[in-house]
């Protein structure tokens, strides 16, 4: 589903964010990307979204070499990837329902599809009661659920999450992780960049650890810290 071959990324100047990374993430896998800040996690995600170009190497997303993708096709690449963020990135002047519907409207989906899918996905994340609430009337965990609903409403094969539990307390984090695992079980490839030890250790999923832009560990049923398994 996602494959990186000898990918390096050097930012302007000479800041090296990724050095010669190669990895393969299969369809329907659930992968944690861990490492301290500055280890290259964010760059990894930005490259998959084609927000940045790799300095070297080849990246395949959903079977396509995204380096070869012309600029105007980039929006169509992103329709295959749902994104979840630490700061939720919800629109404060739209209701829960409108925030989720927005993701379908802006890619030109017809109204009857929107009317059918939006309530269903909001129900799935457990927010049916809050359809007409605005983001500032919701707790952090609820806002993250809206964000996940928005990422998933278009049914993308891949879900990328950048520190999804970064702003949440432990029990709320556990709820969010349960939700992400359920999405994974229903067939979505999930990649989570995090430095939240607790969620990684609890899930016992594949862990890729980055340090100084290199993959220093790739473990099938890993924990956050080295040698903790």
């Amino acid at each position: 589903m996602i494959r990186l071959e000898n990918v390096s990324k050097v930012y302007k100047g000479s800041v090296v964010a990724l050095r010669d990374i190669s990895t393969d993430i299969q369809k329907e896998e659930f992968v944690f990307l861990v490492g301290s800040s500055g280890s290259g996690k964010s760059t990894f995600i930005r490259l998959l979204l084609k927000e940045e170009q790799p300095s070297e190497g080849v990246i395949y997303v959903a079977g396509k070499d995204i380096n070869q993708l012309p600029r105007w096709r980039v929006p169509y690449l992103r329709r295959n990837i749902g994104c979840v963020f630490q700061d939720f990135k919800l629109l404060s002047n739209k209701t829960v329902r409108e925030n989720v519907a927005f993701a379908l409207e802006v890619i030109g989906r017809p109204k009857h599809i929107i009317n059918q899918r939006v309530p269903a996905i909001i129900d799935l994340v457990g927010l049916s009661e809050k359809l007409t609430n605005y983001p500032n009337e919701l707790s952090g965990g609820e806002q993250q659920r809206v964000c996940i609903a928005r990422a998933m409403v278009n049914r993308p094969p891949i879900l990328l999450a950048d520190e999804p539990t970064g702003n949440l307390d432990p029990s709320t984090s556990a709820d969010i992780m349960n939700l992400l695992e359920r999405l994974n079980e229903s067939g979505t490839t999930v990649v989570i960049a995090t430095h939240d030890h607790a969620v990684v250790d609890r899930s016992r999923k594949r862990v890729i650890e980055l340090d100084g832009g290199k993959i220093v560990r790739d473990q099938v049923r890993g924990v956050y810290g080295m040698g903790g398994a």
């Binding site: 105007w72 002047n93 927005f102 993701a103 409207e105």
Partner: protein, 293 residues
């Protein structure tokens, strides 16, 4: 595609409504900028009419000697008509000159009675295509058989022509400056509006909206704001014409002070086009920064 148009229209209306303050700020900026431009355009129209009414009054008077023979008068007339600079030529006989004189002083019969109907000379009155050539034409006619004297306003007219030239230059500079100011103000307002919604644009890009899909509502908004601004500005200009210029014209009769409703309509269309062009162009330019990857 019908569904998309619906989306764009809904999105434009709800954005305009949700950002009432921004919309108001944008519309008032647009209308003030366009108002400035409109005032200069209408003012220019009035000035042009004034200038051409002055220039129309520039006339060469070729006074004829009393002893000139009819043949000389005839020949002079046809040689004037043959000059390429001349646009019109009238002959005024001694009788017509006296009639005119009597008409001018009809309120003071004493002045009229003291003048011998024969004392006024016959003359040719000449209008020129370009008033600047008056001096040259006068010099050529001076001294021809039968000609007594040629008057062309001399220094006074030269000064008038210089003045109207300066007025025209100032007018063009004014149009240029107000147009430039309007472009800057409107483009800046659009940029503020887009900056206020950069988060929305970021999310749209993230969920895979194409650049055109992101751009179109902004272009619609820019255009709607431009139309509202142009309507408002033209409303003020029309009010200014009815309550300002038209009133002044009633008092000041000797100069053209006002413009027709047709001119106001023409100015409205100019403002509309300028507004929409700037709105659409400004949005496109301001969006470029936010649309890059």
């Amino acid at each position: 595609m019908a569904l998309r148009v619906n989306y764009f229209v809904d999105e434009t209306i709800s954005n305009l409504r949700r950002n009432v303050l921004l919309t108001l700020a944008a519309v008032s900026t647009v209308s003030i900028s366009l108002l400035l431009l409109g005032v200069v355009l209408v003012g220019g129209e009035v000035l042009k009419k004034m200038v051409s009414s002055w220039e129309d009054k520039v006339e060469l008077n070729v006074f004829l000697r009393d002893e000139a023979t009819p043949e000389q008068v005839e020949e002079l007339g046809s040689s004037i008509s043959g000059m390429p600079e001349v646009s019109q030529r009238f002959f005024e006989s001694k009788e017509q000159a006296f009639e005119e004189y009597r008409r001018m002083f009809k309120d003071s019969p004493a002045i009229v009675e003291n003048v011998d109907p024969n004392a006024l000379p016959a003359s040719y009155r000449i209008k020129l295509k370009d008033p600047n050539q008056a001096e040259a034409v006068a010099a050529r006619l001076q001294g021809q058989p039968g000609v007594d004297e040629v008057q062309f306003g001399g220094e006074a007219m030269k000064r008038l022509l210089k003045f109207t030239g300066v007025v025209k230059t100032i007018l063009y500079i004014g149009i240029f400056l107000t147009l430039a100011a309007a472009i800057l103000l409107i483009a800046n307002t659009i940029r503020l509006g887009i900056y206020a919604r950069r988060k929305e644009i970021g999310i749209m890009k993230l969920v895979g909206a194409t650049n055109w899909f992101i751009r179109v509502p902004f272009l619609f908004e820019g255009a709607v704001q431009a139309v509202l601004g142009a309507l408002l500005a033209s409303g003020f200009i029309f009010a200014g014409k009815v309550f300002g210029l038209d009133r002044m014209q009633e008092v000041i009769l000797f100069l053209p002070m006002t413009v027709g409703s047709g001119t106001v309509l023409r100015v409205f269309f100019i403002l509309l086009l300028v507004g929409i062009a700037i709105g659409v162009f400004g949005s496109t330019l301001a969006l470029r920064r936010f649309l890059e990857v």
